[in-house]
Symmetry: C2
Subunit: 347 residues, 2 copies
């Protein structure tokens, strides 16, 4: 009496398909992978059997034999102050793009620390990693180099040699905002940026935007201040009041914090400054958000979808051992809304 026999899983296996189609197991495999020529006739017979039996290849077996899990990791730190909706947009773009490349996405937060990345990578649970919310001096960067698996960063650390990074060109975005304001005659502008904690830990996009704003202001010889900006209404209110107390002649605002946009508008209203008559506002934020605000904001959208797609396709290229550029910065595009106007001619 057989003896060992573990119970069969219930799911049909490739052997079942082969038997049903009257071909060898390897033939079924080649039909599925397309790695060898198979006659039209055989292919159709096999495909019919597959459909009939409801066959789905076993992921574990496939990963084991092919040394490819067809899964990529999405590493999301989920720190305080991150812009949740933007992150979510990235995540969905990544999942969707990955599926187009026949890969699935494993979600990793960082609270397991470096050990988590090791476990995942060394255990061959994933073929490659996508790392989000990158800091200028990110501790994960050296780690990535030791993992022995391809990775792509969404964001740009200070030192990008040997890496593959994708992001919006936030430096340029900051410049573009200021230039737009300058073109409209504004001579004193302010950046209301990310929460202080985000700058403190050296998050790339915040620093780069600030640098861009300040650089453009300097070049055009306009006065500029950059302020961090928390996300709750009371804080924002205080900031704005304070800003206009110190610099009453401020007429241009760059806001890089979608959560702060509403409160900023409210605060300006409370100060009796109208948008755009008295103060022009440019936002760096997801497009949807800016579009539904009222007035419709002049903005530099963060193209989360594009970036996510790019990131995935770069990672796929690396998985296929193709060379990839170290840094891919998407050019910012400024969309004019109703929140900016020429500066009012002095009384």
């Amino acid at each position: 009496m057989s003896g060992r026999g573990r119970v069969p899983s219930g799911q049909p296996t490739i052997a079942d398909v082969a038997r049903h189609a009257g071909v060898a197991v390897s033939t079924v495999s080649y039909v599925l992978s397309g790695k060898r020529a198979i006659s039209e006739l055989t292919r159709n017979r096999v495909l019919a059997s597959i459909r009939l039996l409801g066959y789905h290849p076993n992921a574990g077996a496939r990963a084991l034999a092919s040394r490819r899990a067809n899964v990529i990791a999405l590493v999301l730190p989920l720190r305080s102050g991150i812009q949740v909706p933007v992150v979510m947009q990235f995540a969905t773009a990544v999942v969707t793009s990955a599926r187009r490349h026949d890969h699935d996405v494993l979600l990793l937060t960082s609270d397991e620390g470096p050990a988590g990345l090791h476990r995942i990578a060394a255990g061959a649970l994933v073929d490659g990693l996508l790392v989000m919310d990158v800091e200028l001096h990110d501790g994960r960067v050296p780690l990535l180099r030791t993992l022995g698996r391809p990775s792509v960063l969404i964001g740009l650390p200070a030192e990008s040699r040997g890496l593959t990074c994708v992001d919006l060109d936030f430096h340029r975005a900051g410049q573009v905002c200021v230039e737009h304001l300058v073109t409209h005659g504004h001579r004193r502008v302010a950046l209301l940026g990310a929460p202080a904690a985000v700058y403190d830990r050296g998050t790339g996009f915040a620093h780069r935007t600030r640098a861009g704003v300040l650089a453009a202001a300097a070049r055009h010889r306009v006065d500029a201040v950059a302020l961090p900006c928390e996300e709750n209404a009371a804080e924002v209110h205080r900031r704005v009041v304070d800003l206009f107390a110190r610099h009453p002649d401020t007429t241009g605002l760059v806001v890089q914090n979608e959560a702060a946009v509403g409160p900023v508008q409210a605060a300006l209203a409370a100060l009796g400054r109208r948008i755009p008559h008295d103060v022009s506002v440019v936002a760096v934020c997801p497009d949807q958000f800016a579009e539904h605000a009222s007035p419709r904001l002049t903005r530099v959208p963060v193209p989360a979808e594009d970036i996510g797609r790019q990131a995935v396709s770069l990672l796929m290229r690396k998985l296929g051992d193709e060379p990839t550029p170290e840094v891919t910065l998407l050019p910012p595009r400024l969309t004019v809304g109703d929140s900016t106007a020429a500066v009012a001619t002095a009384g």
Copy 2:
């Protein structure tokens, strides 16, 4: 001349560990799984070798041999109008809890449709599924029954027989809000709920909250209206103005839409109605959010963390073939803030 020899992966295998420790492969396996007794001495020797070699078990091989991937799927539809931050909170709670149970999380959006769920489940990529944003008549529910893998719903469909569901008791939450207002003497209340689209597709939590609000109002014989509520400021403003035009004697507001809270406050301010002197506001939303609003809101927090943890632990129980309750509803707790007060005695 070996011949076949594929290149070795580079990662040490269990065989390497066994050789290094001078034991059999199976012994290493038992040290790792604890499924058979191993002497202290041997265990330590093996563990030392593991650490020394930097061994991590290959996930695919393990999944194949044990028929357990140690991965669960998190199914997020990501439809319009979902409350992104809440969803994100769930997601991170799920990932964290899953790790505690030695599982990883595969992120699935629904844009691949039912086929995606089949692929994942039949291919044994995951051991079980966690399904979020459940509608009253969710098309995925019958599907889940056919997958042959355990699943847990975060949310509550109309028909929950044979399922396992976890959620906040939103019906009770609605009641609690109204009761709080009634206790403070309010006689006309309104619910500003989720966006219309959310009700239209029959999302459970929105309907259940509305039902709870209306039921409590009826029982306490106070007047109540329930309005859907979009997320952009202009819409909200119109709604609120309209509400008070029709029912100027409204003094209690239940808001179940964190994105709308700010605009609601602004609209009330614009109408010259102060919180809480003229109008009391109770929010159903994540705690963090309510806590940082000003005034600090009276709220029924959505305990995303708890729910996520519960969901995972129920799923783990199902994976272990233990019985689970069909419906687990967490009791709502109302936290008093500064946005509600006794109704002003009529002038």
